[in-house]
Amino acid sequence: MAEWIARQLPALVVLVPFTAAPLAYLLGTGFGRQIALISALLSQPLAILLAVTVVREGELRYEVGGWGGPLGIDLVVDGFTAVMVLVTTVVGLFVTVYALGYFGNRERYRFFWPLWLFLWGSLHALFLSGDIFNLYVCLELVSMSAVALVGLTLRREALVAAMRYMLAAILGSLFYLLGVALIYGAFGSVDMQTLREVVRSDTTGQAALALMTVGLVLKTALFPLHFWLPPAHSNAPSPVSAVLSALVVKGSFYILVRLWVDVAEPMAFPGVSTVLGVLGSTAIIWGSIQAFRQQRLKMLVAYSTVAQIGYLFLLFPLVTGGGQAAADAWMGGIFHAVSHALAKSAMFLAAGTVLARFGHDRIDGLGGLSRRAPVTAMAFGLAGVTMMGLPPSGGFVAKWQMIRASIESGEWWWAAVVVTGGLLAAAYVFRVVGPFFGREVDDLDDADLNAGPSPWTMESAALVLAIGALVLGIVGQPLLDLIMVSAPALVAGVTP
């Protein structure tokens, strides 16, 4: 049994949520909740086992159908994959627990469970895929489920946001697919391991990579292609907002990193990484300022995501030079993806509790929240610590690595952006957290429809995620080691 699990592990990680999803749909309302919880609990040991196995044995390769690439499709697990699966599984569990309280047994939201399980499975499939066409299918699965989840309330604003999100997501997918077609035409394979040997920096290769990059940047909502994100993330039901900001945008980012740093590294042209870095820096500054100016809590959190996505893109200019700087940038960028996932899901879940209980999320009406909902106010505040990058939080470790990388590479200006971004984050976090612990305003009447305190599962799910983001900085070393397992040659410092 143990041997069988070890052999089938990469497939099992994908299959558990994908088996649960159609069952949740088939069996309907009451069962959807139980099935989602069972799937969430089963996924935990599998994700941990995957990470442990990768640390012990290095890269895992699972040949679906027994064919092996390039004829078949391989599932590939390295440190980067294992980390992303792990964070998806952890955030997924707490979002599931939160959603049990949030949606209750309401018949109207019965579609949440199959859609969410499909989304979860698609994210795992995406992180494990070793094939660029299969990644396209995964992207479609992620986008379709995410769009449907945004529109779940059928409220007008949510439907408009979902529609705009869908158009952006489909355009992004098609750009990516166009690039895949060109790559297959020019190099005759869609298997990443094969492509690594044969890609050349010729006209077709460059055009393909340019198209794929534009498509993926649109799907990741990097400034200035972030226009669809704030309305979609803020109008979605809060458990969905949490998943979108914490995990979904990182799916397309993951593919972008795989392409540029791993597969097509020999054909990289330095100008592109600088452009991505500059856009990332602009996103940090602009997104933070916009976040500060918002009147509604969920909009503030959504714009904060626009800003935090910017940090991820600093990875590109900082890894280009190779050496120690590249390794630090690699660890910093991926660590940031993890700590942001924990902190941002905590923030959205906390904001969702406020919205569900008091019927509004106007920032100027939330003064004194800490007396009415202390756990939720605490969760939001602790998540804010990570967002600002204060020690000992996960955000601090990530930023520390990025600053080190920028000093080692001699490009100190990226460090300046990181520091400025931290200060701006402090401004928008304190703008809401300050009043939370301050004087009470009259606007905190329990909404009629949802009177009384929220289920403890909702409040504690947000708090646990926020604490997780905070202690990530203390227990970060094993995670940094995991990130470096079988890292791409450019990052691992191996010169072929």
């Binding site: 749909y25 088939l26 078949g72 199959p114 698609s122 005759g188 393909a208």
Partner: protein, 239 residues
């Protein structure tokens, strides 16, 4: 975010044209630069066709070599249907007739065509083993037959419950998944068909995929009927 207006300013339209022309030129250059002697996987597929269990290369790629893609694609279809149902006004996904009053000519034609279409669907499914065809084509014809019936005023048979509809939508994915997991339990890898059973298993999977694809297409068509129509029907006590 600006209000969506019917007519965009001329500058926006010129800019859009310029972007489209630029991307078009880039694409043209990239495509023209592809070498004449295309590399590709066709030789590898031909070399392995004999052990795939079927004689048609497309079916071998879809169901066997890249069966994992197809498994995820059928998941996309199921997921898209759930998404559309979750956004439709009634959210029930019942196959009620769309046309309130059936045109007698259309109705008679549908009565004649539907059995033929089901037969064609079955043929396409079987033909996929050695010739162009297979579950997606067969399912499309099946779906078209259902749409035709709905448009001609035929109601869903009373014995088809909502659970049965959900089952029809998801059965293809579930059977495909069960086959894949069964292969793992039998000592193989995910979607690794045992050589002597490959043909049978693929046919079983394709048969249920046909049923699901047909059901999915009918559901998508009916669920996206205009909301006004649905609301009118609901207010008339249709639910």
């Amino acid at each position: 975010m600006g209000k969506v207006t019917a007519k965009s300013p001329i500058a926006v339209r010129v800019a859009a044209l310029a972007i489209c022309a630029g991307v078009g030129a880039l694409l043209a250059r990239a495509v023209l630069a592809i070498p004449e002697t295309e590399p590709g996987l066709a030789p590898l597929v031909d070399a392995n066709l004999a052990v795939s269990g079927v004689k048609n290369a497309v079916t071998a790629v879809l169901l066997n070599f890249r069966g994992y893609d197809t498994l995820l694609e059928i998941a996309v279809l199921v997921l898209a249907t759930i998404g559309v149902l979750s956004l439709s006004v009634t959210q029930t996904g019942t196959w009620d007739p769309i046309a309130a009053q059936a045109d007698p000519v259309l109705s008679a034609l549908a009565r004649f065509l539907a059995p033929v279409m089901i037969l064609v669907s079955g043929y396409l499914l079987w033909a996929g083993e050695h010739a162009p065809g297979g579950a997606f084509q067969a399912g499309s014809v099946l779906g078209a037959a259902g749409v035709l019936l709905a448009l001609s005023g035929y109601a869903r048979p009373i014995w088809v419950s909502r659970f049965a509809l959900r089952a029809a939508i998801s059965v293809g994915f579930v059977v495909f998944l069960a086959t894949a997991i069964g292969e793992m339990l039998a000592g193989g890898l995910l979607l690794e068909y045992p050589a002597d059973l490959a043909k049978t298993l693929m046919l079983v999977v394709e048969t249920w995929l046909t049923v699901s694809i047909g059901a999915i297409l009918i559901s998508l068509f009916i669920a996206s009927a205009s909301p006004a129509e649905e609301l009118r029907r609901r207010s008339g006590g249709g639910e």
